[in-house]
Amino acid sequence: MSEDRIILDNVSRFYGEVLGVNRVTLSIPPGITSLVGPNGSGKTTLMNLITGLVRPSRGRISVLGIDPSQPQRLFRFVGYSTQFDAFPKGLTGSQFIYSYLRLSGYAAAECRRLTTRAIEQVGLTEAANRKVAAYSKGMRQRIRLAQAIAHDPRVLILDEPLNGLDPLVRSKTITLFKQYAEQGRHVVVSSHVLHEVDMISDQVVLMSGGYIVAEGRIRGVRSEIQEERPMQFLIQCRQPSLLASKAFEQDHVVEARLLPESEGVLVKTRDADRFCRILNHLALAGIDIEGVIPADDNVHSVYEYLIGGEEPTQ
């Protein structure tokens, strides 16, 4: 199992007296995993720990069975695009990718081929022979991504990879992540932009103050907290008053509110599964239901419920 997962076992990291992350236990399966949290929540520290750029003060880490303290083995199958926006001086985009591929021990011809492919994948072919120092922020972000994917890694760690990208490139980049995930690879992405996380993640890890607040598939996390935070559904129908009264008869429904201008009914329930079954019965009984929209079944709502005030960007 550990050969297929990124495992952090009770990992803590302190910078002197400052907490980086504390008692983190995670098992990350293949697919896209998003680390979500405000600035200073420990996302970057966690990524640096996974890639061995910093060492844990306590605990144990294994990336597909390899200890991150062995870079010579780890970076054969791991690519990491950091948030550090600095580059070795004087290199063009393609020289930058090529040089670090050479460092990995590939033959010159193979390095050229991998460089060309990586630069194509991030859409920087035209700028490949320009100095990285002359790149825009978005281009620098892309060339970092190219460097991370150039050796075709099985594990891709990306710290805020969509920052500074224009919408078109952003969409292409997300498609690339999805392709990686579909091939059974690990893509670990940190982000504080929640709607992006919603779009791309198979699972999320919510972080705050160096701690893991919740982890798992977003719906799973949401249902875990439905006792304290009932789930909300927006139901569009022709007879909202009738639907509201029928729904409120159920003991798990805590609120059924009619929305103005016939937008529908907002229902809060502590048991989403039972409520969905009831809706089926009501539809069969003749209530014309036009649409059912989960109103807070997303990362942002979960994040707000769990972490509250330290709000990342929506």
């Binding site: 910093v54 060492r55 083995r73 990491y80 070795p88 001086k89 990995s104």
Partner: protein, 359 residues
Amino acid sequence: MIWLWCTQILAIVRLEMKKTFFSRRGLWVYLLAFAPLLLFMCHSVSVAHRRDQLRQIAAEHPVSREDLSAIQVGMTRDQVAQKLGEPYTRLDRQHRDGQSEASEHSHWKYTDGETDVHLFFRDDSLTGIHRNELDTLPRVLQIFAGVFQSYYLRLAVFFGCVGIFINLFRGEMLDKSLHFYLLTPVRREVLLVGKYAAGLLATVVIFTSSTALQWLVLLWQFDHATVAEFFAATGWGQFSSYVAVTALACVGYGSVFLAVGLLFRNPIIPTAAVLLWEGVNPFLPAALKKISMIHYLQSLCPVSPAPGRDVPGFIHLLIAPVQPATRSMAVVSILVLTLVVLVVAARLSQRMEINYSTE
């Protein structure tokens, strides 16, 4: 595996070349390395020019070296003129001190083309002889030995290695670009060796080429026959020794400052400590002397600078080891010291972390 490491080391050297040779931050290293070359060049040009002048004068006012040597204090002007003929420059003047009678002072100059001789007469008696000899080969070699040991090894190569080797890790920490190396499948020890090799290549090329050029520039003022004769005798040996000592200095100091750059956030304090240690080396007991680079480097220098009358005593202490180590002992000691420092640095590099925010 060894082949992979060699490939990786070569790739690191290639990546570092631009930074070590052409970084704006390292321009002062070239200044340190080539400052003596500039000075020696000026000296050689001026001596050669003066030699041409004196030879031209000697051709117009021929005087033999033997005749010049025969002149002694107390001779009269007539005796001198009879022996040497008319001087090429002559200055006569009357001088009165207080109430005493006026005396006649004369300043005559002669040359045989190599030595400029100044004769000072009071009334009719020769009272002083001053001989300005142009550089001779042994004297030039002494000058070079003095500059090489007191400035070049102790300051130029030392600070050159500080500038290049410390920046190999520390510079990239400050630039926030070191992590790119740590995100590749390269063992930390291999990274360290690669960076050391890159620094060594740069310092050896810069400083040995300066050493060689300094030597050639100093010899340039002599005629071809003198230089050829010197090289046929001991010249090549001395030349290669100086180049080798320079390279060994880069090997030794390079390892120390690579480790300093790796281990210390503020390398100024450890650098000052090493400088102090190397500086006080001549005053240390024999056992402690052996734990320094400069002791072994000086032991390998082919010429010990003689204590010239212009050289202060403490400078002479700095340029001449009292009990030099044998040649083989010196080389082995420098290499062992280097190896120990590199092994310790390699072990510590395993614990290296990226934490730019604290830099």
